[in-house]
Symmetry: C2
Subunit: 401 residues, 2 copies
């Protein structure tokens, strides 16, 4: 199509591999541990139904009309109060309601990234964030990371190795894909390093409420409010199909983010914002979220047991303390991408970890979600994974003279 050859050709805009992978893994009959979907059993359908009816009975004209780009006032107030209870100090005027927190990532990229500018990300990091930032064509700098998150010295090094880094994008709580949580002391060190390096932080927290054993430490934004953009979401604690999240930014950035939001979709659906507010205004989440934690904890336990029982020697993982994912490193010589078609053939699916790296993927890694399958299906699925992996290792051993 010569007519469209002037369309932007950035390599970063090529069709994503992950999309193709997920298509394969969503075949009927496949037990999928690939998706990042919350369990539909956790959706508060009855509360949603009541709230929809109430909004349409009382404020239909406002809910169905165009509304403010910033978001619905009472919902912004609620978000500010909730975050302040977690240790932050936020004004409602700093809260921008977005069409899922994915849109928050897009707006952050739109406002802060010029083509070629350095952006630092964890190793590995959330694939959807890379997809959101890619159209603005950053130069990614991978931050060396361990089981506690990015290394403070890697952030400190940005000052010299990547001057002008726009921000470091971090997921301190039950990170997607690794499930890791940043401990208290690491948070202090990461913030101190970022402050010294003059590198702002973008803190993404979709999973923070989904802790199993104890709540995670206070957000990075509580330590450094003027240097941190914070993103939250209702997708994991209510339902993703309403597409609501929020960005909390330092006052200095709010006008630019608001303008980018208005340009992007004018505003997030006012109806949805009012319905969600109706659902949560009376403390519903404090009753509802513990039921999600119970459910996910049991599934986490089932997967931890099954992995210990079925995976061969040489595999490594840590049971996550919250969130939705296990991150597994396969034995030396394995390639999760090569394993995937064999696994799908045998009836189970996962996401190869390579998709989550900005640079130099570790081909031995894979991500397993435990929240959409029952504990029994998890046990069955992991048993299949173990069997396929053993066969794969045997085949590799035979092929190697």
């Amino acid at each position: 199509m010569s007519l469209w050859t002037q369309a932007r050709r950035s390599a970063r805009m090529n069709p994503s591999i992950i999309r193709e992978i997920l298509k394969v893994t969503e075949r009927p009959g496949v037990l999928s541990m690939a998706g990042g979907l919350p369990s539909p059993d956790s959706f508060p359908v009855e509360a949603m139904r009541e709230a929809c009816a109430r909004v349409l009975a009382t404020t239909a004209r406002e809910a169905l009309q165009y509304s403010a780009s910033e978001g619905y006032g009472p919902l912004r107030d609620w978000v500010a109060e909730r975050l302040n209870a977690s240790g932050m100090a936020v004004q409602a005027s700093q809260v921008l309601v977005t069409t899922g927190s994915q849109q928050g990532l897009d707006l952050v990229g739109k406002v802060l990234i010029d083509a070629g500018a350095p952006v630092a990300v964890e190793t590995p990091t959330y694939l959807g964030a890379l997809q959101a930032f890619n159209p603005y064509e950053p130069q990614y700098v991978g931050l060396a990371s361990d089981g506690d998150g990015p290394l403070p010295e890697a952030i400190a090094a940005l000052r010299h190795d990547a001057p002008g880094t726009r921000y470091a994008y971090v997921l301190p709580n039950f990170q997607n894909p690794t499930g890791r949580v940043m401990p208290h002391s690491r948070r202090a060190d990461v913030v101190a390093a970022a402050q010294r390096a003059g590198v702002p932080l973008v803190e993404d927290n979709p999973y923070g409420d989904l802790w199993f054993d104890e709540p995670p430490p206070a957000p990075l934004a509580a330590r450094w409010p003027e240097g941190t953009i914070y993103l939250g979401s209702f997708s994991k604690v209510l339902a993703p199909g309403f597409r609501l999240g929020y960005v909390v930014a330092p006052e200095a950035l709010c006008p630019k983010l608001l303008q980018a939001k208005q340009a992007a979709d004018l505003h997030s659906p006012g109806f949805n914002q009012r319905v969600v507010y109706e659902v949560i205004r009376d403390g519903f989440l404090d009753r509802h979220i513990p039921t999600i934690r119970e459910r996910y904890r049991a599934q986490r336990d089932a997967m931890a047991q099954a992995l210990a029982r079925h995976l061969p020697d040489g595999c490594q993982w840590r049971a996550p303390q919250g969130g939705m994912f296990f991150w597994v490193q396969l034995p030396a010589g394995c390639d999760a991408m090569a394993l995937l078609p064999l696994a799908v053939e045998a009836g189970i699916a996962f996401v190869p970890g390579a998709a989550f790296y900005a640079h130099a993927p570790d081909p031995r890694t894979l991500r397993l979600s435990f929240v959409t399958l029952s504990p029994l299906d998890i046990a069955d699925g992991v048993a299949v994974l173990g069997r396929v992996l053993r066969e794969h290792l045997d085949a590799l051993a035979e092929a190697t003279p």
Copy 2:
């Protein structure tokens, strides 16, 4: 805030004047003809209520879950069928559901505009499109236009005057802000000129269903499907608060648009898509839209009468054949921006036309919306406008020796 000085500083990202104007015009007690809001009396609240209840009763788990970035299948099918009835030849696979058609504009800009690339727009054009394209930093080329739309020779000239123009953005039906409709013969000439110049078209059609006298001619996309991206919306025929629109693109562009959509917000709310589909699936719009046309036609007539009666000599306008707006040119020497504070003081509001130009605004123009006020309020409001304008003209005459 030195920390954020690396934020993009493009002049095009500065806080928008229009936002400030609308704030002023929304004062309590002011009769506003400034907004671009559809009449809330036209919102089908009862049908929405039934559809919400039905979706939550039958498919809550799917409606509240993450869903496909392309949009809800039956809704995409419906859009394709509907457009094909208007003369287009569209496959459902070409339909991308968006978070309002504003998001369609953002995605088009994201996929097609590199910084500095020429983008052609009508004179004047839809302000929200300029806002959507601005973050991608195009060089706007203003297309000389008359009461029938952009001049074909202006499009033909792009070939030499602005080589590499990414697209020409046009609103053939009851354009915002002028209300003009592109007649049959102009459509043929515009498409022929664009084809010869090798310049793709982006056709925005939020108002096409709101005709008062006769339906507008077939879309430009029907004449040149492989060279035209078409945008539609449910905001003006159902309700804007659900934020649903769609983009129809040539097959060659669909993967890039889809990828940009996924990066922007993963998908538009699946709940909303299912509710809207439930509302419209049985032909509801064919019964509902005529009631909107009746309402708006009466308001259009009231404003046409009032303008003829109250505006002083030297003002020019044409009664629109559809849509939501009158476009008025004031007598020589007037500046609508200077008139606005006087009008607001007297209790009425409009939008100065200058906001709608990419270059060289005509300061004598202003936009009046007729759809949110009753015919009586329209008569009163225009009478006030006429009085304020006469006083302003008198003052101008006195000030000029």
